[in-house]
């Protein structure tokens, strides 16, 4: 019985330490407001998502929070922020998209990846048409 109580006490102390550290990470304002700077940056991020992905067409969100890219083989990729980093997915037949003037919302077949809404300016319509071709 004493051993079990000891284990529960340790668990409680660990939980308290976790909450304290998580609170400290927020309190110290850790993280970062990262943005896609330019096409070269988007290109480098695409290569991180898929080694060898060489885009010929790039559309970066006006605020730099994400991007859409297409390579010579017609493959399309979406990149979005994830915390203080970026992550992305190659778009496939299950891709969902919704166009609202200059804003294009993209959802991938990976539900955990979530949706991203990109302000692509006057390029939004062209990319929406491209995405519809993948899903067709």
């Amino acid at each position: 019985m004493e051993g079990v109580l000891g284990e529960i006490a340790k668990l409680g102390a660990s939980l308290a330490a976790i909450l304290f550290l998580a609170w400290m990470a927020r309190r110290l304002d850790l993280g970062g407001d990262i943005r896609i700077r330019d096409e070269a940056h988007a290109r480098a991020l695409a290569d991180e998502v898929m080694c060898g992905f060489d885009p010929i067409d790039i559309a970066i969100d006006k605020a730099g929070i994400g991007a859409l890219l297409r390579d010579a083989q017609g493959r399309q990729m979406v990149i979005r922020r994830h915390g203080a980093h970026f992550t992305g997915r190659i778009l496939d037949g299950s891709t969902q998209s919704r166009l609202d003037q200059n804003f294009l919302t993209v959802g991938t077949s990976d539900s955990r990846f979530g949706k991203v809404t990109l302000n692509l300016g006057d390029k939004a319509q062209i990319w929406a048409a491209g995405l519809r071709r993948i899903s067709a």
Binding site: L11, I18, L21, L28, L30, G31, R112, G114
Partner: protein
């Protein structure tokens, strides 16, 4: 004979917390993006869950080790040199486990948890698996009790090894003197291990002594000219703790379910990323593609 030794990890936890705090303050001053509060919370949630899972299965693992100890080859006992020998052989066993954990998908399904953060800081060290018992990670240490090391000694040395590996999960330390970097696993060597840059994939599996990687051809030195990217080849893109814990097991179940009968087992024992139709990337295929590109870059087109 059952021997009860103290668990060194219990004593190390307060030091872990203090070191994370110090590293957070360092990050605040030098590079706030090295930490991300949601990522830190997920990592620490991994650590807590792993402790609970370990406590629930510890009895079973200990029973198996004591059973194996009955069939030991030699009587090693508790001499001072036995502790040193046990630690070194346990570290070799860790190397074998760790290499397998990256090359066999069943083991990877558990170990991937430790790699699933895009950050590399001391909180990442605590991102430990909840499912290592299911993944059978303990079998790699069993040979030590068959040799004749007492199970309590093996568990104690394993815990010291785990504690050693905590502090090397940092970007705050650049390099140590050459002799130390040659023998010991260091932050520099382990950054390489956590990297997703193609040149670094499947390297530096060491726990405490980097010499195993040097001996078995898996060593890669950190290249200061290339920025390291951390995480896994297909980043999770979520901070959801439960999904982060079980995502690879879910993926295995889906693959085994949908694969033709003769390929089902391949999704369990082949390398992560393997697929029967070759439609996915493994670390080998990524490295091959990267090497090909590097060669093209240095060989001018004719």
């Amino acid at each position: 004979m059952i021997v009860k030794l103290p668990n060194p990890v219990d004593y190390a936890v307060p030091i872990f917390v203090l070191m994370i705090l110090i590293e957070m303050i360092w990050a605040r001053r030098n590079a706030p993006e090295k930490y991300e509060p949601r990522d830190t919370l997920t990592s620490l949630g991994f650590g807590l869950g792993s402790t609970v899972a370990g406590a629930l299965t510890a009895g079973l693992v200990a029973s198996m080790f004591y059973w194996g100890y009955q069939y030991r080859l030699i009587e090693i006992g508790w001499a001072w040199w036995a502790w040193i020998a046990c630690f070194i052989i346990d570290d070799l066993a860790y190397y074998v486990f760790h290499r397998s954990a990256h090359r066999v998908r069943w083991f990877w399904a558990s170990h991937v948890n430790h790699h699933s953060s895009q950050h590399y800081n001391l909180s990442t060290a605590l991102r430990q698996s909840w499912t290592s018992f299911i993944a059978l990670g303990f079998i790699f240490r069993l040979p030590l009790v068959f040799i004749g090391f007492h199970p309590a000694m093996v568990f104690f040395c394993g815990a010291i090894n785990l504690i050693y590996q905590f502090w090397i999960h940092t970007e705050a330390i650049k390099r140590f003197p050459a002799w130390f970097e040659y023998v010991m696993n260091t932050p520099s060597h382990h950054r390489v291990h956590h990297a997703t840059n193609p040149r670094y994939l499947d390297s530096n599996y060491a726990g405490t002594f980097i010499i195993w990687d040097r001996m078995f051809g898996t060593f890669a030195a950190e290249n200061d000219e290339e920025q390291i990217r951390y995480g896994i080849v297909r980043q999770l893109g979520t901070f959801n703790l439960l999904y982060s814990v079980f995502h690879e097991w879910i993926a295995i179940a889906k693959d085994v379910w949908s694969a033709p009968w003769r390929y089902k087992l391949g999704y369990l024992w082949r390398p992560p990323g393997w697929s029967h139709d070759g439609s996915r990337d493994t670390s080998d295929s990524i490295k091959a593609r990267w090497n090909e590109r590097q060669q093209k870059a240095v060989t001018p087109a004719e």
